[in-house]
C-alpha cells in the first residue's frame, strides 16, 4: 500500500479544518479542567469531613470510568432525562470535568511535596491557612505540579478523538470518515499522527521552557 501524494493534498484542507476544531475542544476543555481540578482538590481539604468524602468519591468515580462512556451518556442518554446539550458543549464539559479530576490529583501530589517545615514557618508568622496556600505552598507546589499539568495538556489534546463518538468533527473523526469513504487509511492516519506531533511538540517544548523559567524565578539551583 504505497503513499499517494495527490490524495494527501486532496484531503489536506479537510484535515486542517478539523485540526482547528480539535485545538478549540482541547483548549477550552483544559481551561475548564484546570479550574475544576483546583476546586476538587481544595474540596478534599475542607474542615468538613463530609464534604471531603463526597468530593473524594466524585473524583474517584469520574476518573475511574472511561471518558468514552461518559460522553456517550451525557450526549445520548441524558436527553432522555431532559438534559440536552449540543455536541460541542457536552464534549467540552465532559472532557473538562474528566481531566479536572486528574489535575486535582496532580495538585494533591505536588502539595505533599512541599516540606512540612514551610507550613510551620507560616504558622509562626501567623498566616491564615488560605494565605499560606496562596503565597507560600501553592507557589512551591507549582513547579512540582508542572510536569504533570503539562502531561494532561498534551493528554487532553490527545483524547479529543473520543469526541468523534458524539459527532464532533475533530481530526480523528475526519480521518475515520475519509478512510471509510475512500478505503485509504495510510494517508489519513499518518497525517493525523503527523499533525498531532507538529502541534504537541512545540507545546511540550514550551512547557519545558516554562518549567525552567519558573525554577529560575524561584532561585532554585538545577541538578
Amino acid at each position: 500500500m504505497e503513499w499517494r501524494w495527490e490524495f494527501t493534498w486532496e484531503i489536506l484542507p479537510r484535515m486542517l479544518w478539523a485540526t482547528g476544531n480539535t485545538l478549540l475542544a482541547a483548549g477550552v476543555g483544559y481551561l475548564i479542567a484546570v479550574v475544576v481540578g483546583l476546586v476538587l482538590m481544595l474540596g478534599q481539604r475542607t474542615p468538613y469531613q463530609i464534604v471531603n468524602i463526597v468530593v473524594r468519591e466524585i473524583v474517584e468515580f469520574v476518573r475511574s470510568t472511561p471518558l468514552l462512556v461518559q460522553l456517550f451518556f451525557v450526549f445520548f442518554v441524558a436527553p432522555q432525562f431532559g438534559i440536552k446539550l449540543s455536541a460541542w458543549t457536552a464534549g467540552m464539559l465532559t472532557i473538562g470535568l474528566h481531566f479536572g479530576t486528574y489535575l486535582s490529583e496532580v495538585y494533591r501530589g505536588a502539595l505533599e511535596g512541599v516540606p512540612k517545615s514551610q507550613w510551620e514557618a507560616c504558622r509562626a508568622l501567623n498566616f491564615t491557612t488560605l494565605y499560606t496556600y496562596r503565597r507560600i505552598v501553592l507557589p512551591q507546589a507549582f513547579p512540582i505540579a508542572l510536569p504533570g499539568m503539562g502531561n494532561y495538556l498534551v493528554g487532553i489534546f490527545k483524547d479529543t478523538p473520543l469526541l468523534a463518538t458524539i459527532g464532533v468533527a475533530e481530526l480523528m473523526h475526519t480521518a475515520n470518515a475519509l478512510g471509510a469513504e475512500t478505503y485509504r487509511y495510510l494517508e489519513p492516519y499518518t497525517m493525523v499522527g503527523f499533525i498531532f506531533l507538529i502541534i504537541s511538540l512545540p507545546t511540550a517544548m514550551g512547557l519545558r521552557r516554562l518549567e525552567a523559567a519558573v525554577d529560575r524565578a524561584q532561585g532554585k539551583r538545577r541538578n
Partner: protein
C-alpha cells in the same frame, strides 16, 4: 486531658506573660516534656540550655502551637493558649482562637525555614503586609532597617539557596523580628553565626527588647551568649527544668549535680 486541674479564668494582670502549668508532651512512649512548670514575665529574657534531646526545641514548638500537648495548660498573656474558655471549663481551641493567640508570638527556627521562592527582602515583608496589614512601603522600610541591622542589606534580593548558612540565619531573624511579636522564640539562632555577627544580633535584640519591650525565650548552646544576654538561665534536663537562676548564679555556683557536670564540660570546650 484532665480539666478539673485547670483554672480557666484569666490570670491576674500583673501575672507572667507566659506560663507553663504542668505541661506534658510525649511522642508515643517517649516523654519529652515532663510536667514542666515555667513562668516568664513581661520583658524578660530567658535562655534555655541543656543537653541535646532534653526538650528545648519542643518547649518552643508547643508554645508556637506547632505541637499539641498531652497534659497541662500554657497561658499567654493570662489566657490559655491551646484551650479556650467555654462555659465554665476549657474546650480545645479552634483555628480562629489560635490565630489571635499566635499573633503575640514569633519564632526563629533551628533550620531557618526560609521561603525558597522569595528573596531575602520578600521573606521579611510578606508577613507584616499580610498579617499586620502594613503598606508595602512601611513593610519594606521596617524590613530593610532590620536587614541592615543584621548586615544583610547587600544580599536583600538574593534567594535563600544563594545565601551562606549565617546569611540565611540572619534573614530568618530579621523575618521574625519584623513581626514585632510580644514573645520571641529563638532556637539556636547563633549556631550558624560567627562571634562578630552574634554581637550585632545581640544589639538588635537588646534594642528591640527595650524599645518594644520584647520578651524572649532562646535556646542556645553558646554559654557566652546566654550569659551575655539573659536575665535568667534555665538548665533543661530530661524535659524538666533541673535548675534556673540568673546567669551569675547558674554559671557562678550551680547547685544541681547534673548542671555542674554540664557546665564543667562547657569549660573544657571553651
Amino acid at each position: 486531658m484532665t480539666l478539673d486541674t485547670l483554672h480557666p479564668q484569666k490570670l491576674e494582670d500583673d501575672g507572667p506573660l507566659v506560663r507553663f502549668a504542668d505541661v506534658t508532651k510525649s511522642y508515643g512512649s517517649l516523654t519529652v516534656l515532663d510536667q514542666l512548670n515555667l513562668d516568664i514575665a513581661q520583658n524578660e529574657m530567658v535562655s534555655i540550655i541543656g543537653p541535646s534531646g532534653s526538650g528545648k526545641t519542643t518547649v518552643l514548638r508547643v508554645l508556637m502551637t506547632l505541637e499539641g500537648i498531652n497534659d497541662g495548660v500554657i497561658y499567654v498573656d493570662g489566657e490559655p493558649l491551646t484551650h479556650m474558655p467555654k462555659g465554665n471549663g476549657l474546650a480545645v481551641a479552634n483555628e480562629k482562637y489560635l490565630h489571635e493567640r499566635r499573633s503575640k508570638i514569633g519564632m526563629v527556627f533551628q533550620q531557618f525555614n526560609l521561603f525558597p521562592h522569595m528573596s531575602a527582602l520578600q521573606n521579611c515583608i510578606e508577613a507584616p503586609m499580610q498579617v499586620l496589614g502594613l503598606s508595602r512601603d512601611e513593610a519594606e522600610e521596617r524590613a530593610l532597617n532590620l536587614l541592615d541591622m543584621v548586615g544583610m542589606s547587600a544580599k536583600k534580593d538574593q534567594h535563600p539557596t544563594r545565601l551562606s548558612g549565617g546569611q540565611q540565619q540572619r534573614v530568618a531573624i530579621a523575618r521574625a523580628l519584623a513581626m514585632r511579636p510580644q514573645v520571641m522564640l529563638l532556637d539556636e539562632v547563633t549556631s550558624a553565626l560567627d562571634p562578630e555577627v552574634i554581637g550585632e544580633v545581640l544589639n538588635v535584640i537588646r534594642s528591640l527588647n527595650s524599645e518594644h519591650n520584647l520578651t524572649m525565650i532562646m535556646v542556645t548552646h553558646q554559654m557566652g551568649f546566654a550569659r551575655e544576654i539573659s536575665d535568667r538561665v534555665c538548665f533543661f534536663y530530661e524535659g524538666k527544668i533541673a535548675e534556673q537562676g540568673t546567669p551569675d548564679q547558674l554559671f557562678g555556683d550551680p547547685q544541681n549535680e547534673r548542671t555542674k557536670q554540664f557546665l564543667h564540660a562547657v569549660l573544657d570546650a571553651n
